[in-house]
Structure formats: C-alpha cells, structure tokens
Symmetry: none
C-alpha cells in the first residue's frame, strides 16, 4: 500500500507559509506502516493540480490532497477532481446544513461563497468536518486502468488532522494488504543534545540498523529530543515483546532525561503529578513572561491544581508587588524570593519561578541565556542556574521547559520521599 | 525563468523532520521574481531522485535540489547527477582541502567517508561552502533537447541558505530574461473570516485576476487573515505606482480590520503605540493564562512599557489576590474589575484583562468561547464580549489576539482624542 501526499496552495509554492500538514500526514502514515512514496506541492492552478494527481497515482495506490477546499475563488481542488472523475458537482444538503450550523453557532452571517464548500463531485463520499466549513472528500479515480483513491482534506491544520484521524487513516488501514501492525514508543527527553543522546545509545543505534526494532531521534525544539522506537509485527503482543526490552535498555542509559512518553507532555505530566499529590501550584515569571503558566493551562482541568501566577516583568514590579529584596534580579536569591513570596501570597503547595536575561543584549553584567529557576514549598526552597543558547525567543522557550523540568523532578523526588 | 525545488531525504518523506528549506528557497525565488513552479520531496533512492530531476526539468528551466550531499552511504545525490550527466565523479582537491581545514579547525579527526563530499561530477561547478563539509554544485543537463541547470545544495538549513544567497540566486538572476522586480504589500487583518473579506473585496479580487497587481488571502490562525498584494514591474517606482491605489481601495473597504503591515505584528504595533504615548501596560489574564503577556514580551525593549501582570486563573485568586467582587467571573463586571484593580495595584497607564470559558465544557451556564475583554485607564473603564469558535487551545489563542486588538483600537482612539 503506497500513499503519496499532494499539497495545493500558491502561498505554499511562494514560501509564504510553512507546510506542516504534509509532515504530519507522512509521520502518521509511516507509523501505520503505509509507505509514503512522494510529496509534491503545486499552486492553485487547475492544470497543475490535475497533472500532479494523475502523475502521482501512476505510482501510488492512494493520494492525500490537502488545501484548496476554501470558500474563495482560488480554491479549486473540488472542481479539478470532479473534472478528473468526469462528473458534475452537486450541492450536498447535509454539508450545507453543517456549514449553516457552524455560522449560527459563531453568531456570524453566512455568505453565498461558503456554499461552494457544500458542492461535492457526484459519487464522492463526504468526510465530515466538525471543526470547520470544508468537508473532506473521498474520490475514486481510474488511472492506468487501476482504481485509485484520492482523499481531499482542508489546508487548515487542525481540520485536516481531524479528518485524517477520523476518516482517512481508518479507510486506508482497511485497504492495507499486509496485516502487520506497527507499534511505536516515543520517549521524550530534555537536557541532552541529539549527538550526546546518540553517543550514549550508540550500541542500541547500531543494533537497530539490523534488528526488528527501529530507533530514531526527532529534534522537537523546546520539547527536546524524542527517541522513537518502532517495530512492525504480525501481532501487538509480538510487537510488544520485541520493543519492551529495547525500551528498558534505553531507559537504563538515558532514563533520567526522559520526561514523558507517547502522548504525554511535560505539562500533562506535571498536572498529573500535582493531582496525584493533591498539590496546588503558582508561578512567578520574569523573562518567560507568562509562557510557563500559559502552557500549563492548555490542559482541561488545570484549574484544579494551577492557582494562578504573576508576571513580574519590570524590576519595580518584583520589588513593590512581590516584595523581592534581592539586589541582583538575575540571581538565585531573586528566583527564590519570587517563588517564596508568591507561594505565601497565593497559599499554594508549590511555587515555581524563573528570572534571567532573554537577550539579545547582556544586562547588568549577565549574558543572554543566563537564567535562574526557583522552587518553594513548606519543606523546600531552592534554585538552579542554567546557561541557555539561542536568540531571545529560544532562550524564553528553553527557560520555560527547563523550569517545568526542574519542577517535574522535584515533584517526583517528593513522591519518593518517606513521609 | 522557472525554477522548481526538489527536497531529498527519507526523513522528510517519513515526516521525521519539518521541511523549512523549500519554504526558504521558494520565498527568496518569488521575491526575486523567479517563478517557483513545483516542489517535490523524495526519499534517498537513486531511481526516485533521477526520475524527479528529469521530470521536473521538463517544465522548469532550473532546479534547486537540497539534501543528500552528506558523507554517509545514503547520501547519493552527487552520484545520481553524475549518472544523469553521463560523467564520472572525480576528487576536487580544493574541496578536499576545505574539508580537511574544517576538521582541523574543529579539532576533529577526518574519516575517509568525508572525502566522498569532495567527489564532484566532471564538468560540474563547485559552489563553496564555508559553513560545512558539503559544497554546492552547479550541473548542466540536457532534458528534452534543452540545456537545463541543476543546483545541488546541502540539507543543513544554514549551509543551504549561504550557498543559495552567495552562489545560486546570483547565477539565476544573471540568467533571468526580464529584469522585473516584485513588490509585495501585506495587510494583516483580524475580525473577519476569509470569505467575508473576499466578499467585501470582491471587486478588487476580480480586477486582480486580470490586472497587474495580484491579490491573495493567507489564513494565519491567531494572526488573522493576511491580504497580500504583489506586483511585478520594471522598476520599484512603477511597482509602487501600481500597488498604492489598490492598497488604498482595500483600506477603504476593510481598513478597520487591518491591524499591521508587512513585518509589523499585533504585539510590535501595541508596543510602538505605548512607547509613542509614553504609557505603561499591565495585563490580568484568566483563560489565556499568560499568553497575552508572553506574546508582548517577545519584543526586545518590551520592558520599557510592559510592567507586568497577573494570571488569576482560579476564582479565589481573582477574589483574594485581586479583590474581584463580581459574582459571575464570566462577565463584563469581572473583566472590568480585573483590569481596574490591577492597574491601581501596578500603577500603570493602562490595564488589559481577559476572562471567559476556554472549554471544552460549558461552565456555570456559559458556553465555551464566551470571553470578556476589559480595559482600564484613568479616563476609561470598559469591556467587550466575544463568542469565539474552535477547541480549547484555539479559544485561548483567539482570545489573546482579540484582547490585543481591543487594546490596539483603544490606543489609536486615544491618539486621535483632543487633549
């Protein structure tokens, strides 16, 4: 089973926006053992779209197209597919009412353009899109005498992802010949670079080149480096038997840097740990400017354990509002006072703080990237210093994940501590 | 002059890394008025690379290939091009000594693999790479009886970018027939959907299809919808003469929704307005959880005008810490008290607040997406209500930009107000 990916959009071709959709699709296909053969990007041009679709289907069994399903004049993917299928477009009443419902829910008036999105090639199957006004479509095409499948998905990432997961991938899996399952395990690490990880895991990397279990590294910016294990096997049980011992070996070598697995994130991990220990958290941020807090409250139910926080950005705010006495605002002393004073103010179990120099320029004799993370609780008050690389935004992001990682390790120690 | 882009790398095809190279190349090509015709991505497979190169050169005059120039066994782009050119590879002494020098500089021992990177197809032109061990290569190919040019560049982004800027683009420009310059103008809007914008601008959209000035829409998530005007013209002066009247017409129709131009952002705009009026700002956030503040302090120098803020996430924190009396925490009253009380606490010129239901579930009879934005200053105290669509994260992002836009409009009114 070969499935290729076609991105449609002049803005992609002109480099006006980054293509994250094809990366997401490719990653999911490979996780499911469906080989992705080729990716292409073409502009909003009927002839170019049509020739790419036909050309790619000479080699692939299926094609996932993303983009060109919008309401405006330059969104023509629907029309191109109808032409290739040799059919007309007709208004799909159920899609039309979906679209009307979305506008009603948003208290916005629907204009006639939007009904273009309810036009469906006769014979195509509608893949519902609860997140937006452009439904996905499954179309059958004959290419070189063979029946091929084309999936049309919107270019809006979260809409495309929903339709891919809910409709496209299940349909592809049902068509897949070899019944092997692919099991993947992702170990998310923070604190070591890719080459340092590779060196510590060299033995396993070499094994993986010939063995059943594949091992790869994915650099994920402020989410660190992911170690990805994957194995293809006739059954889930057999796959697990193969993957578990390798995972154990990896943990032996670099377990201390692993902060989460698979769907877990640093934030979900911390919220789980806080709930587990019936603790509450407040956060006092300087250079991160609210990024730590903002990431923690991404999670539904965060309000159970995340009380609130302060962004003491200007020095006088640290002093007047939070009574920070430390002379040097880039210091262990300042980080600890920020955490201690906020925890007492908000009466939370823990308080986390971050102060430092985001850059681009040094400040008061401190270099950009010099940051201090503080933690306060009834029992403990401490801080750690880090020197982070990169530009201003990168320093702020790395400081955010570093602060969360310091808290995570502290919460884990607390669980282990005899009471 | 048509130039297409080919990315080589199985890791790209498997979605293990994001492709930023082709976006960078496409953007630079379009800025220089060289049309980018198509983008493709193939794995590290000789047959696939060869057929993509030939296939793409049937339509394009030149091709930029990125990736597959590394030292390892799966880096085969050099060999594939030599085959297509019908020549052998030979060791280029100058490249070999460049590579040796780089290893010496890094105090690392060179292994023989690395000399593979000094192998050059006979007749190809070396494009020096001071940043790494893989030089770029310019190769001539005959396709369909026509002479075509293929540029090979490394996959490492900063190395590719250097070779592109220093060698590839100058060579392409020298081959370009028309010496037209491309001028673009981006109007960034918030508050109207793409289809509503398209309808208000329908007249200009239709004109653009036949006229010199092209008009396009880019959906940029929490940054709204960008209206992009572009024109190709023999001189910058002539280009401006063409684009300015169209821009004026667009502003007549939708000017109230335009928050920034070109490189400006909502945040930079607000920080400029605060500096211009010598004002300071504090922010009190509930559902956005620090996102408003975090975006504002992305900018160097933000600390001049951004004092700090609070994330009053839990209700009791709003009450105890900020003395919010409002019964209903999702209300105009609450948003106004949050802003008013924080402004007085931090003694800033303005305070901005946001409260509402992020979801996924309704709360206290309020639906997800119901948000209130408050603004307080010496002269004014008001709030606005919005109903935002999307999932939890989207509601939080849209609330962030909506709050910033309310502040932006208020600051502009202040500038116009007689003093």
């Amino acid at each position: 089973m070969r499935c290729s990916v076609l991105c449609v959009g002049t803005e992609l071709l002109l480099g006006q926006i980054y293509d994250t959709n094809s990366t997401y699709i490719s990653e999911r296909l490979s996780e499911l053992g469906i080989s992705s053969f080729e990716k292409r990007t073409v502009g909003d041009n009927a002839e170019r779209i049509a020739s790419a679709v036909v050309d790619m289907l000479h080699e692939a069994d299926a094609l996932i197209v993303t983009g060109g399903l919008g309401p405006t004049h330059d969104d023509i993917t629907r029309e191109v597919l109808a032409d290739l299928m040799g059919v007309d477009l007709e208004l799909d009443e159920s899609v039309a009412s979906d679209i009307e419902a979305i506008f009603a829910k948003r208290n916005r008036e629907m204009n006639k353009n939007n009904l273009r999105q309810a036009m469906v090639p006769i014979g195509a199957r509608v893949l519902r899109n609860p997140l937006g006004t452009a439904p996905g479509l499954q179309c059958q095409l004959k290419v070189g005498g063979n029946a091929k499948t084309v999936f049309l998905t919107p270019g809006v990432p979260h809409e495309m992802e929903h339709i891919l997961e809910a409709s496209v991938l299940p349909i592809l899996l049902s068509k897949k010949q070899d019944s092997n399952v692919i099991i993947t395990r992702t170990l998310k690490t923070w604190g070591l670079g890719e080459s340092a990880l590779a060196e510590k895991l060299e033995e396993m990397v070499i094994q993986a080149e010939t063995g059943d279990v594949k091992l790869g590294f994915l650099a994920r910016g402020m989410n660190g480096i992911y170690i990805k294990l994957s194995v293809s096997s006739p059954s889930i049980e057999m796959a697990k038997e193969l993957i578990v011992p390798i995972e154990e070996k990896v943990k032996e070598k670099v377990g201390e840097y692993v902060y989460a697995y698979d769907q877990e994130t640093m934030e979900s991990k911390i919220i789980d740990l806080l709930k587990e220990t019936k603790s509450t958290l407040s956060v006092c941020e300087s250079l991160t400017g609210g990024m730590v807090m903002s990431r923690l409250v991404e999670y539904p139910g965060a309000s159970e354990v995340i009380a609130g926080g302060m962004v003491t950005y200007q020095t006088q705010v640290k002093r007047k509002f939070l009574n920070v006495q430390a002379q040097d605002i880039y210091s262990h002393e300042c980080a600890q006072q920020m955490a201690e004073n906020l925890r007492k103010e908000l009466k939370t179990t823990f308080a986390l703080s971050a102060t430092g120099v985001a850059g681009p320029d040094p400040d008061g004799g401190h270099v950009p990237g010099e940051v201090y993370v503080g933690i306060s609780s009834e029992e403990d008050l401490f801080s750690e210093e880090f020197l982070l690389g990169g530009d201003r935004q990168r320093v702020r992001e790395y400081c955010t994940i570093t602060a969360l990682d310091v808290l995570r390790k502290h919460l884990l120690r607390g669980l282990k501590r005899p009471t």
